[in-house]
């Protein structure tokens, strides 16, 4: 039912989603923590900046990233002069694009989550001898785990469906940068609806199961009078 190319696309997609989610959590968590606690005048500006990639159409954002990461761009160019290769049309390139594009979906929920903890648990941890990093990992993160979950699922799902940025930076090269969403898009563009339906159904089912498993573990809040 599925072509080998589709299987490749599924593989690339899963790799991209997982890496994006992991990197977003690694990157977004300290950023969100800083944003939740800083007194800096630039806080609001940084928050706005984080959300900014969202407002550009994905392919246009993709285009600018292409320029930046390509051989003549600042990033890609630098890499080339350092003896490496530029990042356009590579897995690393689409990963950077996905991370940037989903950043606000990770940062904002995390920031809210950290804010909701309040200062008391962190203060208590400090008086028990826990330093800043210790407090962060043993108190803040576990207490904000609901928000970590939200950040992860939003980032994961958004990366799953996104194709504009990925298409532009990645060039849809099978086995390397062609993700499932591009394959579905292609099928639809080719008016090959049967294939589009099958792939969509597959993607939806897969995502539903993943999301359902994740959400089923979430706790609810007690209701008044219950």
């Amino acid at each position: 039912m599925l072509a080998p190319q589709d299987w490749q696309a599924i593989g690339v997609t899963l790799r991209l989603c997982l890496w994006t989610t992991v990197i977003l959590l690694l990157l977004g968590t300290p950023l969100a923590w800083w944003l939740a606690h800083t007194r800096s005048r630039f806080r609001a500006a940084v928050e706005a900046l984080v959300a900014l990639p969202l407002v550009l159409p994905p392919t246009v954002l993709g285009f600018y990233l292409l320029v930046a990461l390509g051989p003549r761009g600042p990033v890609g160019g630098l890499l080339e002069t350092l003896g490496g290769t530029h990042l356009a049309f590579s897995f690393s390139g689409i990963l950077i694009g996905s991370v940037l594009y989903s950043l606000p979906f990770a940062v904002q929920p995390l920031q809210d989550g950290f804010r909701a903890i309040g200062r008391q648990p962190l203060e208590v941890a400090a008086t028990l001898g826990a330093g800043p990093l210790d407090r962060f990992f043993t108190v803040a993160l576990p207490l904000a785990r609901g928000s970590v979950l939200t950040a992860a699922t939003l980032a994961f799902a958004h990366t799953m469906g996104e194709f504009g940025v990925v298409l532009m930076i990645g060039g849809s090269i099978p086995g390397e940068t062609q993700v499932l969403s591009i394959a579905i898009y292609d099928a639809a563009e080719a008016l090959d609806y049967r294939r589009a339906h099958i792939l969509s159904a597959l993607l939806l089912a897969l995502s539903f199961v993943i999301l359902w498993l994740v959400f089923a573990r979430r706790r609810r809040v007690a209701t008044v009078g219950a």
Binding site: L128, G129, G131
Partner: protein, 352 residues
Amino acid sequence: MSLSARIGHRVGAFTLAVDFDLPGSGVTALFGPSGCGKTLTLRCLAGLERPRRARIEWNGELWQDDAFHLPPHRRRVGLVPQEPTLFAHLDVRGNLAYALSRCASPALGLDEAARLVGIADLLDRRTDALSGGQRQRVAIARALLSHPRLLLLDEPLSALDDPARRGIALDLRRLARDLGLPMILVSHSATEVERLADRVVLMRDGRNDAPRSLAEAVADPDSPLHAGAGPASVLDGVPAGIEDGLLAVALGADRLWLPWHGAAPPASLRLRIMARDVALGLAPARDLSVLNILPVTIESMHDGADATVLVACRSGSGARLFASITRRAATMLGLAPGMRVHAHLKAVALLD
């Protein structure tokens, strides 16, 4: 060892200006009305506030001055906050282990601490499945397990029933002594202060009086400690034999008898004698169920509140006793400083 703190801090319209030096051992009570700045003071000591002007030193080590601020996790100061904050993502055991695993030199085991505050059977509970008093006890055990250099207790027993309160207070006092763990205790209960504290710092409107020993503090007839039950004398004595189920306590040459449950008495005993429980007579009353009658000399007489007179007396062995009697009785008996009278002690409370 000692703690010296000079703190100038403003939050909103409130100004905290405290200044005290405390020895590095024993229990100091911070006592004052609601909103006078007790919690804020503890927070400054713990390093949780950054006062604008302050100099806090612990045993020669600088904790804070106008330029420097030692972060809380480096102070090794334990805090039991007024509203106990437990880690909601950990169960009770997890909360205790959190403290223990960060303690370089544990003085207590986890189970021991739990037993001490009576939560040994709650170790596997989620924290939101605890009652108010249980939460408070977990917070105390957790702070103890971190074996701090200084333990700050912000009304740690307010949600507990009397027997539990008494038991934990005595254990705290024992720990303060055995571990050499100095404590600062905020409490609204004069009994708790008398039971636990070695010295008292009175606070009002963000300022503090100089620290005084507990005996001095309770000897002040106007002390806010007495707002509840009136002035009292607190005397430390040693056991001197048991007879008829009564324990003799020697205060120098004086001897008082109190009901005793029979076990071996501790090496020292703290007694509280409320001024209102002391009657003065020209002679020892006969055929009266009062056992403890001490000959004393009246040192001074102060007009107290409400037509009462507070009579300060001294026993032969030098113990200071207060008697609160009505002015009518004082007149009737013709009491005056220098007179030798007999103090009838109706009730003597053992604070240990």
